[in-house]
Symmetry: D2
Subunit: 307 residues, 4 copies
């Protein structure tokens, strides 16, 4: 059976889940997305991409951006980044501020909203926020081999307008002295990284380097060094899905990152990268049909890292 057939069977398998779950509704631009959308794309070691369903429709990448911003920030700051953010799973719901207080403004890991705000601040560094964003976009375009990737600026403004909770988190972190840049600069960067529009196919391609120790297996270009690539995968496995990370590791067995737009990015080390998109979310805020699709895909491919 061809890999294309596998993807199509996976989508057929999970058709009963299509449209289930709750589409994120905190801003109109997300709420109006069609809950029936369902797409999957995978890119394997030879760089060839396979796709099924709505895999070429763009959506906002939301917290999938955390992974790429983290990779870049680690290039800039190396292990000094960990002075500002931890690497333990959160053990609490999305965006909880409780642990942030108990741990004095140092977020638990870079794959929570609070943690990504700190990563954004570090990535901005002493530059203008726009310059840092240009770097992030250039990185994504290079990894995805696609120059068309851009920020949906209208969405970014909506995110900012509805961003009271993230604004609260950023000010809270600032109150503990853990932001170097002005809070609104960091937030502006953050809302724009979340509003980058990409397709499943672009995302799977962009993340391919994480399946091959940091080096794009097609171009041979190193996005990062092996140890750093492995560590990003480790963070995705332990903390990539809010308070659903344990369950995702348990059921799927791959490093991954979930986003509120219904996308899940998964890395199959040594094999390739996969992105699935279905806007309906489960109670923990990760794509309901998307997680089932990845579970089925791993059953058929044997890609679990725990074999």
């Amino acid at each position: 059976m061809s890999f294309q057939d596998v993807l199509e069977e996976v989508l057929a398998d999970i058709s009963a889940y299509r449209g289930q779950g709750k589409v994120a509704g905190y801003i109109p631009a997300l709420a109006k997305v069609d809950g029936q959308k369902l797409g999957i794309a995978a890119v394997l070691s030879d760089g060839r991409s396979y796709a099924a369903g709505d895999a070429d429709e763009a959506f906002s990448i939301q917290s999938l951006s955390y992974v790429f911003a983290l990779a870049l920030a680690l290039e800039h700051h190396k292990s000094a980044l960990w002075n500002h953010v931890g690497r333990e799973p959160a053990g609490s719901p999305v965006n909880s501020i409780i642990q942030l207080e108990m741990e004095k403004g140092r977020p638990r890991n870079p794959l929570t909203a609070a943690g990504s705000l700190v990563v954004c601040d570090q990535l901005i560094g002493r530059r203008a926020p726009d310059e840092a964003l240009d770097e992030l976009l250039a990185f994504l375009r290079r990894c995805a081999a696609d120059e068309a990737i851009a920020v949906d600026e209208t969405l970014a403004m909506s995110e900012s307008h509805a961003g009271a909770l993230n604004r609260s988190l950023a000010n809270f972190i600032a109150a503990f002295g853990n932001l170097n840049n002005p809070v609104e600069d960091v937030l502006s960067f953050y809302f724009r990284q979340c509003s980058i529009a990409m397709t499943c196919r672009q995302l799977a391609r962009a993340a391919l380097f994480l399946a091959f120790d940091g080096t794009d297996p097609v171009s041979g270009e190193a996005a990062t060094i092996p140890s750093r690539s492995r560590r990003i995968n480790a963070l995705m496995l332990t903390a990539g899905h809010y308070d659903n990370s344990g369950d995702f590791a348990f059921r799927v067995g791959l490093p991954g990152k979930s986003a509120v737009s219904g996308a899940i990015l998964a890395i199959a080390p040594g094999h390739g990268a996969v992105c699935v998109w279905s806007p309906g979310l489960n109670a923990a805020g990760t794509s309901l049909a998307g997680a089932v699709a990845l579970e089925r895909l791993v059953e058929r491919t044997g890609w679990s890292v725990f074999v």
Copy 2:
């Protein structure tokens, strides 16, 4: 270089860490263990074992027992076990009771003390506690291919005597109706499973099935089915080291379980199982030298699941 040489080099590499950290002191029997002890053992796919340092000296396995009790309880109850315990990382220090209250007596995962108490209760089922313990010992002896494994009953009594915190956790869970057996029966089982005495070599051998999808590669006997074996590994990776689990995944990149006696068990899927023992603990309660040893071992073998 032979694998034996690798183990010996690892021990040589980390000699500066020998004796560092703090030996657990909550009971005299643990406190008097020599902090200079340092052993490592690995068993590979052919069942052959390699060892260096104090790898044949017995110590109490403490919370390493959680892994084996979990495997057995899953055989008895299958997915119904998850009605009683979750599978998310805790995001809080060892033995924290805070989340237990917030989540109404359902522990976050089976690899915390609270979670293991629930697993013990389920494993006892409707049997006498002794009968269940006999099953656990038989399981360990069969997996380790060593009939000499036994409970250190004197230690178990000391554990019970000093067990106010675990007694508090067990009563707290019982107050929420999540224990079927009398609290003291569950505690008695729990303290005895923690007081089983084993060596690094025995532990690595006993855990070998987890590196091979649940089946002992030597005997060909299935201890559990593949999906369950992978899931136990997933739990070890996300939650095997208290509030140090993210850091261990980040640095070592293998499923593992740390114990307060200074032992760490690690699974290299497809390769083998490793156990390291060094009594000095870091601030999060895991073996300081042990974690460094595993980090070095993975650097030399490339066993990270995140490659």
Copy 3:
């Protein structure tokens, strides 16, 4: 209008609340109490008692005992008691263990279950628990001028049998080294103090000294010194009703203590003491009709301390 008329009007006023709320059901002996019971008694400065409804029917005093045990423990240990327990309101539901962990086993105040366990331990001191209990009973009998007051031992055994949550709290405190006596000794004392059977009339009489700076206005006998009496009142006002203390102060404006049996004891400084009993509890675990009765009584008498 005579004071007797006032009490009777108060009971008439609140007849619509009789039987409302939820009778505590964690042990059969409490669950079977008739929810229609409603009694009130007040004792004024001349020692004369006024009563209406079921004011002469005995019930278990439960956490009203905390007040008297505290008064005695302060006589024994004076301000050294505060090394073991704080005096801040809890800001959390009944029996929450969360703060106990955050504050390392030192309960927030002596009018929570955790705090009273510490008070019990201190009151026992180096004596046999029975000797300390005899002292508490003698104190209650002397204050109430009634030798008939006794422990309902059958109830105490039921409380112990159903006491997993208190057993958890006590072991948790012990784990932090904040109990001097064996946990089960402290619990035995605790369950027995809670199982003392008294009537509204006896309780109002027994607490009269707190309305007169520590001295019984009839006998002239000092139960405690003025500053200590005022401080017990302050603790009752800020922390006497679990997480309903602020609301009680807001609505009633008197120092008081609520118990799970549906009793509320209130002190009107300079005027007298009141006890009301109605088993139906509100969501915060205090007597629903009882609190309304006290609100009405204070409206009619002007006894608020905040005038």
Copy 4:
């Protein structure tokens, strides 16, 4: 002994505490206040004021403003205000955001920063923030019988500049839908109410109505109705001093409110109002010397509400 002599003796008594504690340093304007300052003023039922030390030196009233804004908001919204804010003590340090999350954006009481932000929002209502602030200033001037009271606008700007924590709280509350006005409007009002400059003498005079059931005993003018006045006192007694409220009730026995500028306002029901000012704070953020002064004053006057 005249009351003037009492005040002077109190100041003499506590001279050893003058300059102790830590002056609040989160903004330069507060940090540069002379820690040796010490003033006390009391106004009794005839409206006559007594003062000693630096009682006529103005300072920013900070959270003492909460009390007056609450009184006004209750006039506007009556009991509907309690839909937006609770009335239980917080049981946690100043400005903790933990409970705010656990209770879904409804602050525990109106005398915390979070609670006052909600009160400010309600007091603004559908008006321009400036109009509401004018009302608050007019209220303070009328109560204090002093037209000179004004906002220190330079300080308000500094407060806003250093206001990350309050900005975090306000955005957090807004994220739960518990603010009607734009966050920055509410914050602007909040920082300006905190920056009102007054003296001990003015503050004691302004709060006199709370000692007399809501009516100014000199002018006979009602600032509020008796039940509301008593309830404000109840809130001050249970929650007026952050996580030091229980201790203040225990030691002083009067309704009061502490501010980070080192001021404490205390109400002696039926007697008068007192304000003490000493910038050095204890660990809980209340004036160290100020609390001792009030303790001594109550010992000399017998004004405790718990007699």
